[in-house]
């Protein structure tokens, strides 16, 4: 390990690159081995073939693939953990040093006020040197981030024809950028994925058999029998992990897009893992197609950015879209970190370009040079037509909004937000570990992560859309989860709901809160899913909660760990959810304080907090308490083997304590949150509402404060975290008590409630009729149009083609006659003539080699004579 540390000492960012590539390596290994297996299987009766075949596993291939994949992801976890620690240590040491210098500087400033005469000069000199040290340290930290934790190489260069300038055209890069957010994401993803891999070794053991009977597929000959696909499952898992890690790693939108699509493909493959089942196949298609709709938006957004800004690199994009924070004169007043709107003045045009007048409701956005000059003169810039790297440009404001919304549409698809949330619950068709992976660590997290990453690209309008989308989603999903009886579907809707929370947080400026919740949610959602998987495994693939109940004595580990998850997601104090979800509520509270017209954005999540507590408690109580509802299931129920329970325990511990800080009861003291906070873009703060703010720099990070001190109290999340948390806790308690009353103590009968509100219940059971709506609006019309086209094809086009064919046959008949008699006649005549001549001439060919030689010699002599003659003629002439 020491060697590795030394090896990566120069470029510690490579820890993460290696961690990304390891699952890819595992994927390739398993793929190659499988290919060899397939190739060798045909020849397994020959000695060489048998050797190859047995080398790749033989008829019973065992768990090797799982070990390879698990080993790869575990190693990736180790790498990312080491990398994360190194990053944190470096960050910490730099910041400590910076803080010390600042403190000293502050003290000097204090003393300076009182000092006089010579002492003053001395102090001034000291302060100056201290300031230099501080600046040097800050520069070194910035350099370290740029050189150690970032890197990329040019993969492809797209230069439009006629442009020879290397800086023009677009470079597609492959690269990595590590900040504390991606470092944490890395550790989170690899850790959870490792546990899920381990869990899967137990869960997927059925697939180890050479012949698996699928009870859910009925064929003419009974149940379907197929070969076990143990290795394939782990191969897909590896690819999935690689895609997700690459997405987290990426420093440019194009790489993100590649991983984005890979994630989509992997989800397609894994959701449709039991592809013989009609439902699984449909769910896979649905997930994929729904995601494609989102991806279309993503592509559009990328293309808009490319067209107007000319790069995919996020760092450069942000630099160009957002105003710089400071220049040599200090902070840029008024516009620092903001998107600067204004108008182009066509009447004021010089050689350098058109003048750009800043106006808050202008139709254009100023693009800043991506190689900013030392002295920044942004106030009255000239906008060039084709800006060079150190010139200003512009783009229409609505284009930037559209780009942001396009990218967000991609995230909507991936993170199952309203209105594209329909695929996620159906994705339950995949094996449970896959569900856990999709819901916790990889796919749905990708959308939120991307919104977080591209944050500076979103304008205030776009953010509002994001917030409302999240708000609607979280409420709709939570209400549906209340009535679901399938244990996994409850969890699925809870995921959608929690993702809605995150989106809402991002939309209202709670960048830290949203991404913090993303990380904590990953742990407890993975726990809950694996727990449900354990329950399902124990109950012989029974997923209906109406057939469970009273499982607690039989599955104590599962039940207790799941309880931890339930409490965490509900937001019980000191559980992870309390720290992260309530941070979102606090953020929303601050937002509506400034913008009371968006009150809904606070009420929806607040209400949903209660609903969440209700349905999660309902799920746990229905499953583990009360009397068994189905004796058959209850008899067979058993605790799962250790590969499944160990991950549960580990995740359970994480769900409780991952967000802890000191002091424990301070919701703002979370270490994890503080770490995420390091990665926050200054731009995030600049856009927070349209309040009058001032930006201040404090040891490398930017802080924003409202100029109105009273506003300051209310607006900033950390001031009202406990307030919002307390309100939410009351609702949560109500929800839990309500659930306990209904499903544990049976004070209320759920069936009665169902009868009292039959339409509401049906509406919710029908998932707010989204599927029906889409079917009526999109699917059916498409089918009808398709039928029309088919009919047109059959009648009109085929008719024409048949007519053409018939006429061609008629023509060719006559053509054939002509061919046969006239053309063949001529050819035969020629042939016969040549044959006749040849028959006469053949007597010359005596068969005697020597006579041929004589002919040759004579011919040579003749040629030389002729040549000599012609040469003389030529010379004479």
């Amino acid at each position: 390990m020491m060697n590795l540390l030394l090896l990566f000492g120069e470029h510690p960012g490579w820890f993460f690159v290696v961690a990304t590539l390891l699952p890819l390596l595992s994927f390739v290994l398993i793929l190659l081995a499988s290919a060899l297996w397939c190739a060798g299987r045909a020849y397994r009766n020959t000695p060489g073939g048998a050797a190859l075949f047995n080398l790749c596993g033989g008829e019973e291939r065992g768990r090797t693939a799982a070990f390879v994949a698990t080993g790869a992801i575990a190693l990736a976890f180790v790498f990312s953990l080491v990398g994360c620690i190194r990053f944190s240590v470096q960050q910490h040491s730099f910041e400590t040093a910076i803080k010390q210098h600042e403190k000293a500087l502050h003290e000097f400033a204090q003393k300076l006020k009182e000092a006089k005469g010579e002492a003053k000069e001395e102090l001034e000199a000291k302060a100056k040197s201290e300031k230099e040290k501080l600046e040097d340290q800050e520069k070194r930290w910035a350099d370290a981030r740029k050189t150690y934790w970032q890197g990329h190489f040019d993969w492809l260069r797209i230069s439009p024809k006629g442009i020879a300038d290397a800086d023009s055209g677009t470079v597609l890069q492959l690269g990595f950028k590590i900040d504390s957010l991606s470092a944490i994401m890395f550790v989170m993803v690899t850790f959870i994925a490792t546990l899920i891999h381990v869990f899967s070794i137990g869960y997927m053991s059925d697939e180890l058999q050479p012949e698996v009977e699928d009870h859910q597929v009925h064929t003419a000959h009974g149940h379907l029998h197929r070969r076990g696909r143990f290795g394939r499952f782990f191969m897909y898992l590896s690819l999935f992990c690689f895609s997700m890690l690459n997405l987290v790693l990426a420093d440019n939108l194009f790489q993100v897009f590649l991983s984005w699509e890979l994630v989509g493909v992997c989800s397609y493959l894994l959701i449709g893992f039991y592809n013989e089942r009609q439902s699984a196949s449909n769910a896979a298609n649905k997930a994929f197609i729904t995601n494609r709709i989102g991806d279309a938006g993503f592509i559009l957004g990328m293309l808009i950015l490319w067209t107007h800004v000319g790069t995919f690199n996020m760092e450069e994009l942000f630099q160009r879209v957002r105003a710089p924070l400071n220049d040599t004169h200090g902070a840029v007043e008024g516009v620092a970190g903001r998107i600067v709107r204004g108008n182009l003045d066509p009447n004021n045009t010089t050689k350098a370009g058109q003048r750009f007048t800043i106006a808050n409701d202008g139709s254009d956005v100023l693009l800043f040079p991506h190689r900013p000059p030392e002295h920044y003169h942004a106030i009255v810039p000239r906008v060039a037509e084709n800006p060079k790297p150190d010139q200003h440009g512009s783009m229409p404001y609505w284009m930037l909004v559209a780009a942001g919304l396009g990218i967000f549409l991609g995230c909507v698809g991936k993170s199952a937000q309203f209105p594209l949330q329909v695929w996620l619950p159906d994705a339950m068709e995949g094996p449970t570990p896959v569900s856990a992976l999709i819901h916790a660590a990889t796919m749905v997290a990708a959308g939120v992560y991307l919104v977080g990453r591209c944050y500076p690209l979103f304008t205030y309008d776009a953010l509002l859309v994001i917030a409302y989308t999240g708000g609607i989603t979280l409420f709709v999903a939570a209400t549906i989860a209340v009535v679901m009886t399938d244990i996994k579907k409850v969890l699925a809707y809870s995921t959608v709901s929690q993702l809605g929370y995150m989106m809402l947080a991002l939309g209202v400026g709670g960048w830290v809160a949203g991404l913090f919740h993303l990380v904590t949610h990953a742990f407890f959602k993975a726990l809950l899913f694996l727990g449900s998987g354990s329950v399902i495994h124990g109950c012989h693939h029974e997923q209906e909660m109406t057939k469970m109940g009273g499982l607690f004595p039989k599955m104590k580990i599962t039940a207790l760990t799941m309880l931890a998850g339930v409490l965490a997601i509900s937001g019980i104090p000191l559980f992870t959810g309390w720290y992260s979800k309530d941070a979102i509520l606090a953020q929303a509270f601050g937002f509506i304080y400034v913008h009371p017209q968006h009150l809904l954005l606070f009420l929806l999540p607040l209400a949903t907090a209660g609903i969440t507590a209700f349905y999660m408690s309902r799920m746990w109580l229905m499953t583990f308490t009360g009397k068994p509802r189905d004796e058959h299931v209850h008899e067979h129920a058993h605790e799962s083997p250790w590969p499944m329970t160990v991950p549960l325990i580990v995740l359970g511990i994480c769900s409780v304590g991952i967000a802890w800080g000191w002091p424990l009861w301070d919701a703002e003291a979370s270490f994890l949150e503080a770490n995420v906070h390091h990665a926050q873009y200054p731009a995030v703060l600049a856009d927070f509402g349209h309040i009058d703010y001032s930006l201040s720099e404090h040891h490398g990070e930017y802080w924003v404060a409202a100029k109105d001190e009273a506003q300051n109290e209310r607006v900033f999340a950390y001031r009202n975290h406990h307030l919002a948390g307390n309100i939410a806790f009351v609702l949560v308690a109500i929800g839990i008590v309500f659930a306990g009353a209904i499903y544990w103590k049976r004070v209320l009968d759920p069936a009665e409630a169902k009868e009292q509100f039959p339409r509401l219940h049906a509406f919710l059971m029908d998932k707010w009729r989204f599927d029906r709506l889409y079917s009526a609006v999109f699917v059916r019309p498409c089918l009808i149009v398709g039928h029309w086209f088919a009919a047109f094809d059959l009648r009109a086009i085929d008719g024409v083609i048949h007519a053409v064919a018939r006429s061609a046959m008629w023509v060719s008949k006559w053509d054939g006659l002509f061919d046969h008699h006239i053309i063949d006649g001529v050819v035969n005549l020629v042939g016969n003539t040549i044959y006749g001549v040849g028959a006469r001439l053949r007597s010359v060919q005596t068969g005697f080699l020597r006579s041929y030689v004589l002919f040759l010699v004579l011919a040579a002599a003749g040629i030389f004579l002729a040549l000599a003659y012609f040469v003389r003629m030529a010379m004479a002439g």
């Binding site: 020597r850 010699v857 040579a860 002599a861 030389f864 004579l865 040469v871 003389r872 010379m875």
Partner: protein, 197 residues
């Protein structure tokens, strides 16, 4: 006729011509092979005389040491009494000699009548030929060009800048050709059951 080279030329020419004639005239096929050996060795000597040492050595190694031994093998493998001395009729001899004389007459006449093409670059007769490294370089694809010049009797418009020429492709083709020929020869000559005659 005042340098050793000229004397050597005439000696070698005489050897070569006499031995070549002997090849033609002898009736015994093995003796013909022996005469051919001297002819080829004489030609190789002429190459050395011309300064083409590499070509001369190749001639010795490939022709004398390889090809001719192969031919003698062929003779010995098919050497049954009647085939060693196979005679042809006097009439055929006469025709062949006549035709040969005609050809020689035509060739030498055309040589003498039409001056052989010469270049405007006058080489001193004793000037050295390019040595084996130049040949090797041009065979291995590092272009080596002969000097630029133009032939007598050609219009000046035909004078062109010579680009460095590389013979890597022909060299490869010849090598592959040799390999194919070796395989083909081995295939053709492999022992087969003799068909009943």
């Amino acid at each position: 006729m005042d340098t050793l080279n000229d004397i050597l030329f005439y000696v070698l020419m005489a050897t070569t011509c006499i031995c070549a004639l002997a090849v033609v005239l002898t009736q015994n096929i093995v003796r013909a092979a022996a005469w051919l050996l001297f002819t080829l060795a004489g030609v190789s000597g002429l190459f050395f005389l011309l300064g083409a040492e590499f070509v001369g050595s190749t001639q010795l190694l490939v022709y004398v040491g390889g090809t001719l031994v192969l031919v003698v093998f062929g003779v010995m493998l098919t050497a049954q009494g009647p085939f060693v001395n196979m005679r042809i009729g006097a009439a055929e001899w006469a025709i062949a000699l006549a035709v040969g004389l005609v050809l020689y007459g035509v060739l030498s006449a055309s040589l003498i009548i039409s001056k052989p093409p010469q270049s405007d670059l006058n080489r001193h007769v004793d000037a050295t030929m390019p040595d084996s490294s130049v040949l090797g370089a041009s065979l291995l694809g590092q272009g080596q060009a002969s000097p630029t010049g133009f032939l007598t009797g050609m219009p000046p418009a035909m004078r062109r800048e010579r680009k460095p020429m590389a013979y890597l492709l022909p060299f490869e083709i010849v090598s592959v050709h040799l390999l194919v020929v070796l395989i083909g020869a081995a295939y053709l000559a492999r022992a087969k059951r003799r068909r009943a005659v």
